[in-house]
């Protein structure tokens, strides 16, 4: 069997025997800087804008979104947070879909996908999203525009803090995605084009 063959070759090459104990790995390098929440919010907004995204902080995400979606087809995830904000129930917003095919069709035809986010990373302008019954993968992926609403207190300093509070992301979900700006490519003549496969426009709303 190839498994045994390959593992045997690996062991022989390394001079290791089966089940030989392994020395401790070098400790993982986790350095979490001290950054105030206000500074984190400011950094997140600035980073998202630097990536040609739109970013804002508001105590009323519902109103902002209401005007942003006028005349558009919108799909929202099943996030209880979005529901609590009154966003999923906005006129023109489709939400509450649990069937895979139905959701896919809705996302494929929608102009805008609205999601919450589990965390955001301040230093890179990143959204952290876990797949769950409340948040399907396609909502932030298929529509050409993505709007994410993040509670203020979910903004972390960066990757180190993320992996410090979540050393085992696999325990949570089959999929954790870090989203940093709109989809892009420079494959042709190194010229930047946004919105290749994923959304070309992204808005991050920090809910105060």
């Amino acid at each position: 069997m190839s498994r045994d063959y390959i593992l045997h070759r690996v062991r022989t090459s390394l001079g290791r025997s089966p089940s030989q104990p392994v020395p401790d790995p070098p400790p993982a390098r986790i350095r979490i800087p001290e950054v105030s929440l206000d500074a984190r919010v400011a950094s997140l907004l600035a980073q998202v804008e630097a990536l040609a995204g739109t970013a804002l902080e508001t105590s009323d995400p519902r109103s902002y979104i209401a005007s942003a979606i006028v005349g558009k087809t919108v799909i929202a995830s099943n996030s209880p947070y979005l529901a609590a904000c009154g966003i999923s129930s906005l006129p023109g917003v489709e939400s509450g879909i649990t069937d895979r095919e139905q959701l896919r069709d809705a996302c494929a035809t929608a102009d805008i996908g609205i999601t919450s986010a589990d965390y955001a990373l301040a230093d890179t302008g990143t959204l952290v999203m876990f797949s769950s019954p409340a948040e399907a993968r396609m909502v932030s992926l298929l529509p050409p525009e993505h709007i994410a609403v993040v509670p203020r207190d979910r903004i972390l300093t960066g990757l180190d803090e993320l992996f410090s509070i979540l050393p085992d992301p696999a325990a949570q979900s089959s999929s954790m995605v870090l989203i940093t700006g709109p989809s892009r490519t420079a494959d042709i003549e190194q010229i930047l084009v946004r919105g290749v496969h994923g959304p070309g426009r992204i808005t991050v709303i920090v809910a105060a």
């Binding site: 090459s13 230093d123 993968r137 089959s174 989809s183 496969h197």
Partner: protein
């Protein structure tokens, strides 16, 4: 073999447009990297490199342990690991699975490992439609060409080349506006994503303690490839294993900055197993194919083993004065640039490509920019020694061997060395050096010979 390398290098050097394209594109990436890892942007850059190197060293030194740990954790999350000796086993598995599932259409995200084993050709040969979805790779697939660069596969093509390929292969009117070309590819590929039965991806990292596959990209095609179809197959070299999810805090900080100067790539996916109960979308089946294909050949030598640390950022290509002039297609295999120069002879055998380790001025820029601190120049030097040992064994290149024996002898007999120098200066350059001399003067003038050597002048001082 070797002369093919010289011939291709010559053609690329003689092509002014191509020279400009490669030099400018790599120059841009090089400059962006320098800025992104500068002391004001990433003050702990050197520490991160040291950490990344140490973690990779540990993982590779204990590779069997981490492969088994990874395998157990993939299974614990409902996925399955399949070990594959070579490309045949990879395609055999995929074809068998496709047959069982009645699958016809495969979408693929960018994976150098699958290029290594010509996966698309194998699948297509057996009647599967396998579509590359990364824009650059899609264009290359249509054009029947190999990638030019690890990160920017279509570096060598202009928008006019792309227009020509699209018109010829997709039967669309000629379109040279890049945004429109991209939009066209997007709409065609979207249909493929949504209709595909199987999605095949690579993996930047295999996380042992999580049983997870990490995929880094900018377009979103990998997310679609791994989320839309019912089956996800990740194909990855065995060397991609890292011990812990927490190690990503180190590697992710280095990868995008080293590759393109971005802080992070647009999408980083951390995928463990098929979708969980309650998750609305995601694959129903999750496989990770662990490929050897010769990697185990690089393990025995402790020095050369570090060649397997590579995280495929492309920084060495962008900084190499040789790659920046001869480009990716001059290299005989899918991996080009400095990393290609050390991997290819180790996978293929040094006698297959004896020129490759010598196609370098040993400037050391590659080792300086490698985020995982592979000492590429050191390995190049060892490979050179391996080439010469093999040639000596096979009685090839005997004149060169003889010249260097003469060199060593001369350099250990100072008075004879001095006499030889005097001869050189009085007689002019001996004709046995005609070859190297002609090569020198083809590009630059010779230095004038001094009347006396240093030691002669020293004695008169």
């Amino acid at each position: 073999m070797s002369s093919e390398f010289h011939q291709k290098a010559h053609e690329t050097l003689a092509n002014a447009n191509l020279q400009l394209a490669i030099f400018t594109a790599t120059g841009r990436l090089k400059d962006k990297r320098v800025e992104a890892v500068g002391p004001d942007q990433l003050p702990d850059y050197q520490e991160l490199r040291t950490q990344a190197n140490a973690v990779k060293q540990h993982a590779i030194d204990n590779l069997d342990h981490y492969l088994e740990l990874f395998e157990r954790n993939v299974a614990a999350r409902g996925g399955r690991v399949v070990y594959c000796k070579d490309g045949t086993e990879v395609s055999d598995f995929i074809l068998a699975l496709a047959h069982e599932r009645g699958a016809h259409l495969v979408v693929k995200s960018k994976s150098m490992t699958t290029e290594e084993v010509d996966l698309n050709e194998r699948l297509e040969h057996h009647g599967l439609e396998s579509v590359e979805t990364d824009l650059g790779e899609y264009i290359l697939q249509l054009a029947h060409q190999r990638p030019y660069h690890i990160v920017a596969p279509a570096l060598h093509m202009t928008r006019y080349d792309v227009a020509e390929v699209f018109t010829r292969r997709l039967h669309v009117p000629n379109e040279t506006v890049i945004e429109k070309q991209t939009a066209l590819a997007r709409s065609i590929l979207r249909e493929k994503f949504l209709a595909a039965d199987i999605g095949i991806s690579g993996a930047n990292f295999l996380v042992a303690d999580s049983g997870a596959v990490v995929i880094v990209e900018n377009e979103g095609n990998a997310r679609l490839t791994t989320s839309a179809p019912r089956v996800h197959i990740a194909v990855a070299g065995i060397e991609k294993v890292i011990p812990r999810a927490q190690d990503l805090a180190t590697f992710l900080k280095l990868l995008a900055r080293s590759a393109t100067g971005q802080l992070l790539s647009v999408y980083t996916s951390f995928l463990s197993g098929p979708r969980r109960p309650g998750e609305i979308d995601g694959p129903d089946e999750f496989y990770v194919l662990l490929l050897d294909n010769g990697r185990t050949r690089l393990l025995p030598d402790k020095n050369k083993r570090q060649s397997l640390f590579c995280i495929r950022c492309g920084a060495c290509l962008n900084t190499c004065p040789v790659y920046r002039r001869i480009g990716g297609h001059t290299f005989p295999w899918v991996y080009s640039g400095p990393i290609g120069a050390i991997l290819t002879p180790q996978f293929m055998g040094v006698q297959q490509e004896p020129d490759l380790p010598f196609a370098s001025s040993l400037c050391g820029a590659c080792g300086e920019v490698c985020p995982v601190k592979i000492d590429i120049p050191k390995i190049l030097l060892e490979l050179r020694s391996d080439v010469k040992k093999a040639e000596t064994r096979d009685k090839q290149n005997r004149l060169e061997k003889l010249s260097f024996r003469a060199f060593a002898w001369l350099m250990t007999h100072p008075r004879l060395y001095e006499m030889a120098g005097k001869l050189l200066r009085s007689v002019g350059v001996p004709s046995i050096q005609a070859g190297p001399l002609r090569a020198w003067t083809s590009q630059r003038d010779l230095p004038p010979l001094p009347d006396r050597s240093f030691r002669e002048m020293w004695r008169r001082r």
